[in-house]
Symmetry: C2
Subunit: 264 residues, 2 copies
């Protein structure tokens, strides 16, 4: 793991602070020479040590939790909680202190604006919290795994997962979004099926998409835990010279603008 | 505040648990009759009590921190940390336990895909963590404040904030994105200026956008703290029958598809 050194250095300083505080009591912190250390702690935050401990999860069980959670907190918080609720039980912190339900706002592509599909955003929150951010000298795998999931989502005939006991029975129509965006993903499905946003079928489609993304995220995290994860994720800005999806023509048609290339 | 009752009920149960644990020690939790309460805690998470404590912040100071943070963790984590780092110092938990740096992946519209501008995503994380999610019976103000910020961002001549000592001197060109998306926001600015993604000017523009969003977020949170916040935010899916931005023609031209309206 590339992040190893970075992590070890932080941990050793933290270990020292913890044992000093543990032995001498909290009052010392407020009254004496340890105040500066306390301030350093405040800057970093006790959960900002990566990677977070992870135990391999069952993808199907996770998908079932995500499916049910959609009907409570929708797509983004559904994906996060399908994974973090199990790790809260098995491991505890730092998962217990993560305010999963606050991420309900990821619904409908963030506050119903149709931007990034919440299940993609939720998956990115999960991979970046567990593997960690690509800070200087640290692994980029958290962000690249999130990127890989967005590409997989864009290409997949969604939803890929069928719950054991779905709320809407019968065949679920599937569509390819060719985009990680909620508006495009939901819009194409609504166009293909003629079902409205408020229909039980559309709701169950999004609950199943949430389950599908949770399933795949756990597949990738399990491979990472086994040391077998080789990312297919990329940072598109590097090749397109602008943060972008890879299918420019879908929105721009043939008139794709050329971004300024020279460093001017 | 609509969330009052919900919050009080949760708090009173939590208050009980806390005082029992405080008096009797942690060992009781593992060995006796309180285990079931402990499990309930694990499900909810100790930071999932809303609203989080908040103290009014200085918008300009916050913007300065956000500007500097962009050069370390980019837009999303920059907005979050500009606010949470001050509240970590002033209040402590639950801000200390929030893994701010993990949100570096919001850069470039999430892993450089150009979806939601990270500063908008970061602002939504902040408002929804502090005010809380729109769970059943709770206030929608966290999500609506996030939505209001996205609309403000789309309409503003950005960047609105000028740092006291900017890294790139001289006049900073401003553009209106008419969108909360990174690709559109950055793309319009690059087209107007002819500056490349890698140019110091483009980087400083995005650092200033981050500062601008942090500034406005604190303005709104301060009004909320004073009990004077009246949201202008909306959930666009309600009026458009699909999660969407409000300027359909910008992407669709005159051929705006009509989403299925009947509940079928």
């Amino acid at each position: 793991m590339e992040a190893g050194k970075f992590f070890d250095e932080k941990m050793s300083r933290r270990g020292l602070i913890k044992s000093v505080v543990g032995a001498a009591g909290i009052a010392v912190l407020a009254s004496g020479g340890l105040v500066s250390l306390s301030k350093a702690e405040a800057k970093e935050g006790p959960t900002e040590k990566w990677p977070w401990p992870y135990e391999k999860l069952d993808p199907a069980k996770t998908a079932e939790i995500a499916y049910e959670e959609w009907y409570r907190v929708f797509c983004g918080a559904g994906v996060i909680n399908s994974i973090f609720s199990q790790l809260r039980e098995r491991i505890g912190e730092p998962y217990k202190s993560f305010p999963v339900d606050a991420f309900k706002f990821l619904e409908g592509g963030m506050s119903a604006w149709g931007t990034i599909c919440g299940s993609n955003a939720g998956a990115n929150v999960v991979t970046n919290c567990i593997i960690g951010p690509s800070l200087k000298g640290a692994s980029e795998d958290g962000m690249l795994m999130g990127s890989e999931i967005m590409q997989w989502y864009s290409d997949a005939n969604m939803p890929t997962y069928t719950p054991k006991d779905p709320k809407v029975k019968g065949e679920m129509p599937k569509t390819v979004a060719s985009s990680p965006l909620c508006h495009v993903s939901v819009g194409k499905w609504m166009k293909a099926t003629g079902k409205s946003l408020g229909s039980p079928e559309r709701k169950d489609r999004c609950a199943r998409v949430t389950a599908s993304v949770a399933y795949h995220t756990v597949e990738l995290l399990n491979a990472w835990k086994d040391g077998k994860y080789k990312t297919t994720g990329v940072l598109p800005a590097k090749s397109f010279n602008i943060p972008a999806q890879s299918n420019c023509m879908e929105c721009h048609g043939n008139k794709i603008p050329t971004p300024p290339l020279a460093k001017k």
